[in-house]
């Protein structure tokens, strides 16, 4: 059973290299984004999340909505365990896969096979588990002998195929995505879509941040609306989408 609990968390970013007043006033003039708080003259801090609480259980498919800078990405990073909030309590129970950057850990100079190991390790797999996945990834990518060559010899479509295949080779208990991932040409796309849908179906908790309302409606059963670093609203996807479209 997977479980995520955020209990009144607050996340703020110190901006140490701020050229005092000039940058501070520049930041404050911005209309989008979280709250910028001046702690004192030399210390600027951006409050990315403010007093957020959220509970996700098995079967929850949460869509995250909000304008740029509303705190969606920061929230995803808290949910994936990367940001430990200085204030508030976080409980994450379950193996997480964060597909916010599918290429993370890959190395252009390394061969396809080496990259399978490198990328898998960052998905939380042991080297042995990663090696067990090689056959399946070979089949899915259809890259054949290219897997023996350095990745820099690949076309961008081929790199995407490989990254996608490795990243989706394991089913996590908690799947976190920033916009839906897509890969390659038309033929591969339908294959990739089927694979991704299978993955989403098997995972216990899905968290998906997106601006694509139709897709959120299709994939999610819940939604959270973010505004200025706060969760304004959580509930069934229909209701939240209706409110969001109403005032967006």
């Amino acid at each position: 059973m997977a479980l995520i609990t955020l209990d009144r968390i607050t996340v703020d970013f110190p901006v140490y290299n701020a050229k005092k007043r000039s940058l501070k006033s520049e930041l404050i003039r911005r209309t989008v984004g979280g709250h910028i708080e001046a702690i004192d003259d030399s210390h600027v801090s951006v409050m990315a999340l403010r007093d957020v609480s959220l509970t996700l259980r098995d079967g929850d498919r949460l869509g995250i909505l909000g304008h740029n800078g509303a705190g969606k990405s920061t929230l995803l990073r808290v949910l994936s365990g990367v940001y430990e909030p200085p204030i508030g309590r976080v409980v994450i129970d379950g193996r997480i896969s964060s597909l916010t950057d599918m290429m993370m850990g890959m190395d252009a100079e390394a061969t396809g096979y080496e990259n399978i190991l490198l990328r898998s390790v960052f998905l939380g797999l042991s080297v042995k588990q990663a090696q067990a996945n090689i056959g399946e990834i070979e089949d899915f990518t259809e890259l054949g002998n290219f897997l023996k060559l350095p990745m820099r010899t690949y076309s961008s479509g081929m790199i995407l195929r490989l990254a996608f295949a490795i990243s989706t080779a394991v089913t996590p208990e908690i799947l976190i995505m920033d916009e839906l991932v897509s890969a390659g040409d038309a033929a591969f796309m339908s294959k990739a879509e089927a694979r991704l849908n299978g993955l989403i179906g098997r995972t216990q908790i899905l968290v998906l941040a997106s601006h694509d309302l139709a897709m959120l409606h299709r994939l999610c059963n819940k939604a959270a609306l973010m505004e200025e670093g706060q969760v304004r609203m959580v509930g069934p996807v229909d209701k939240v989408l209706a409110v969001y479209s109403g005032h967006a």
Partner: protein, 286 residues
């Protein structure tokens, strides 16, 4: 929050804001970071080896450039300084060679410690792996480099008739102490340098100065006798001596063991508090 809830999340009836974590909680999380980091040895081994492979990929000699570059440096400086110091080459060259190989390990652990977290920014911002993994990765990289440099030593000793003895095995203990210290140095400097970006530059200067103030190219006995006692307290010298002296066939002076032992204990104690306190903040500083 499963029901439809349209209220503001900071509505006043929710009581006071939660308190930040206590030091005990910080310490517990840091301990877990380090212990899980150690058990994930396949991960840091893979990353460290890939760093070496990446550095020398597409070059014909590959990682043996490490060996070659060091050999050229030792050869050139060995002949030049034996002339300048009026020392026989047969005596000076093995000493300088051993010094350089060990100093190379020591100094690059310190310098690369500064960038363990800065260089891992892409990873740290995406996956919640233990931070100590990036320190061990740096140590793997340096051990591999050291082993490549070590290749120079047997022919050097053979050619200049440095006697082989059981004392040389003591060098292994010295290397282990050196690497053990690499863990706290990596955690400490890595964290400090992630927060203060001037620190890496400061460390480059400090290590450069330490190189001149430590008997790496010269011997301590060449110094005026009133300074020798003071130089014996140099921690760089202690760590250098616990590896270099046994390699050359004599047990290291007791003071070298005492100082490096003391630094190991103090270093880990200070780092335990420092790293625990700031571990969670590192990713916010990147």
């Amino acid at each position: 929050m499963t029901e439809f809830d349209i209220g503001l999340s900071d509505s006043p009836d929710r009581g006071p804001m939660p308190k930040p974590p206590t030091m005990a909680q910080h310490l517990k999380l840091a301990r877990r970071d380090v212990s899980v980091g150690l058990t994930d040895w396949r991960v840091w081994l893979l990353l460290g080896m890939n760093d070496i492979r990446q550095r020398y990929r597409r070059s014909r000699l590959g990682q043996f450039w490490i060996t070659l570059a060091m050999a050229i440096q030792i050869g050139t400086l060995g002949f030049l300084y034996s002339y300048l110091f009026h020392l026989p080459v047969a005596q000076y060259l093995p000493y300088l060679g051993t010094s350089f190989v060990v100093w190379g390990l020591l100094s690059s652990i310190i310098l690369e410690s500064c960038s363990v977290f800065i260089a891992a920014e892409g990873y740290l911002r995406q996956v919640p792996m233990p931070k100590s993994i990036y320190v061990h990765r740096m140590l793997v990289r340096n051990v591999v480099t050291f082993l490549h440099n070590l290749v120079i030593i047997p022919p050097l000793y053979l050619f200049f008739h440095v006697p082989v003895s059981a004392t040389q095995l003591l060098a292994l203990a010295g290397i282990l102490v050196l690497l053990l210290n690499g863990i706290w140095v990596g955690l400490f400097l890595g964290t400090l340098c992630a927060r203060f970006r001037d620190m890496p530059q400061i460390m480059v200067s400090l290590v450069q100065i330490a190189f001149y103030l430590t008997p790496v190219m010269y011997r301590r006995v060449q110094l005026p006798s009133k300074w020798q006692g003071l130089f014996a307290l140099n921690p760089f010298q202690s760590f250098l001596d616990i590896v270099r002296e046994p390699m050359l066939g004599s047990p290291p002076p007791l003071i070298a063991w005492e100082i490096s032992g003391l630094i190991t204990i103090v270093g880990f104690a200070v780092t335990a508090v420092f790293f625990s306190r700031f571990r969670a903040r590192i990713v916010y500083w990147l």
